[in-house]
Symmetry: C2
Subunit: 309 residues, 2 copies
């Protein structure tokens, strides 16, 4: 059996001394001016997005154990963006990074089986190798266990992982996730229990004590975050919302298990577009790479103590 | 303003005299033997899937107003499958069909904006035209209105539509969608109310009295289906689960509004793989196209009375 994904991730966190994950969310019109042109063709846009993200990955590799590629930002460029996505997964692997594909897929079992093929399973084709497949993906489990099971099977077979949405970072999601509460048990708590159950089988839990079935949980007030953490004792968390979305280090603290285990923290916009933030750009450099590198180093250092690094 | 999608769909249903939608869910190893080879490369597989689906679309165009392309089945072939998806949308348009992209995307607003670009908005690139963009897409609204709004804006601007998941066809989804019920209001009823509200604005409702914001609702018992129908008086439905998934004509009846308006019925496997069903294949033909054509014609005729055609 291949090594459990969470064991691989734990080793990478130890090696890099931070639980930071750099989120790669490329928007063409937000690229550094030197990488843009007027009215590009879609192929030109995909090529420039590729160049931008390749540099982001090189920078991330110097500071962090993993990157998260958000599929939406590549799908905006149709099949050309999707081709770029797979190229970048391969490049990140070549740089020694673990890769999370942020795909948030969720459909009934017969369809989920096909999504798993494209996004997490070992490629069945002689001309496609596993280097272009992410080490883990995010999922939406709102169509039930059947939506998740094909991915869990692929994860278990390939030393890969999944992170299932439990509590998203967008406040607008509360009208869904608060359903049933506060008097009763809220919907997000129900999802937390289901995800814990789906990933609770002994065969899915690595030597580090964490399952290859994780959860996406945004930090909110400490009390509700701690309650969720108790609901999911072997479930690793991918924590969004750090940086541009408003969460700070303290809000993230209750996401971790004792000893600083069990969570990784993602920042996307606050790192990869640091060159467009006046207070950083004003430090005197026209060099967007240096600006991103500083922001990436600061992010990695800021969250390092959370994991006891 | 372009014509409301539901007005365009109503006209197409009148013209074709059926509310049938043919679901295109291609699995390489289920293709007719003549279209398969041993150990194909991914490009070869994508080419054969394209050939199969192109013929399915030609057949569907003779019987039905619309096809539904399930993105998962194309994503299983990486960027090559995604390129095939867009080619097939274009081909279906050339055959006069409306196209529903079954993508079930759902993420927070800042990400949903990018998904909408790739899947429903008018292409901003000079070398991509709108013919390869579906007329409507399916969505998951579980991250709240922000996950849906960018698509609704694209739909309103382009005479396109969305169908948001309310009640899926997979019985395994009940552990999610039954949450809160039966004593209280169940989660799927909450989603139905939200979807009705998201699509209720006058600017979104066409001359036919239906909104460009629809719902995906699987038929179950008549009482619960009728109750959902009453919750969503201007919400058009895309009804999955017909045929291979078990629902028959009678179960679909309460999905329609008075006069047979407001719903379309999808069948996928029971039509497109009719050649592999012994009772149909045994009718003496080795000709898979003829077998699919008969199944498609029968499906279109079976559901025609539901729409008063």
């Amino acid at each position: 059996m291949p090594q459990n994904f969470q064991d691989r991730l734990a080793a990478a966190i130890q090696r890099c001394r931070t639980p930071a994950v750099v989120g790669i969310d490329p928007v063409y019109e937000s690229l550094p001016p030197a990488l843009r042109r007027e009215q590009p063709t879609v192929r030109q846009a995909a090529d420039q997005v590729h160049a931008f993200c390749r540099t982001l990955i090189d920078i991330a590799a110097a500071h962090a154990p993993a990157v998260k590629l958000n599929s939406a930002f590549f799908e905006a460029l149709y099949e050309h963006g999707v081709a770029t996505y797979y190229r970048l997964v391969r490049h990140a692997h070549a740089r020694g990074l673990l890769v999370i594909g942020d795909i948030k897929r969720g459909d009934i079992g017969s369809t989920a089986r096909l999504y798993a093929r494209g996004h997490l399973a070992a490629p069945p084709f002689a001309d496609v190798d596993a280097d272009c497949i992410p080490d883990a993906v995010t999922l939406a489990g709102y169509l039930g266990e059947g939506a998740v099971r094909p991915f869990v099977e692929a994860a278990a077979a390939g030393g890969r992982g999944v992170y299932v949405l439990v509590r998203p970072s967008d406040p607008g999601a509360d009208e869904i996730h608060g359903f049933g509460g506060p008097a009763g048990r809220a919907f997000y708590q129900h999802m937390a229990e289901l995800v814990a159950r789906w990933g609770g089988g002994a065969a899915l839990v690595g030597q580090c004590g964490l399952s290859c079935v994780g959860a996406v949980v945004a930090p909110k007030d400490a009390a509700s975050t701690s309650a969720l953490r108790n609901t999911m004792p072997v479930t690793p968390w991918l924590v969004p919302g750090y940086g541009a979305q408003g969460a700070g280090v303290e809000a993230c603290r209750p996401c971790f298990l004792p000893g600083g285990r069990g969570a990784i923290i993602n920042a996307s916009r606050s790192v990869i577009y640091a060159f467009s933030r006046p207070e950083l750009a004003a430090r005197g450099s026209q060099d967007w790479e240096a600006c991103v590198d500083r922001a990436c180093a600061a992010f990695a250092a800021d969250v390092a103590p959370l994991a006891g690094c």
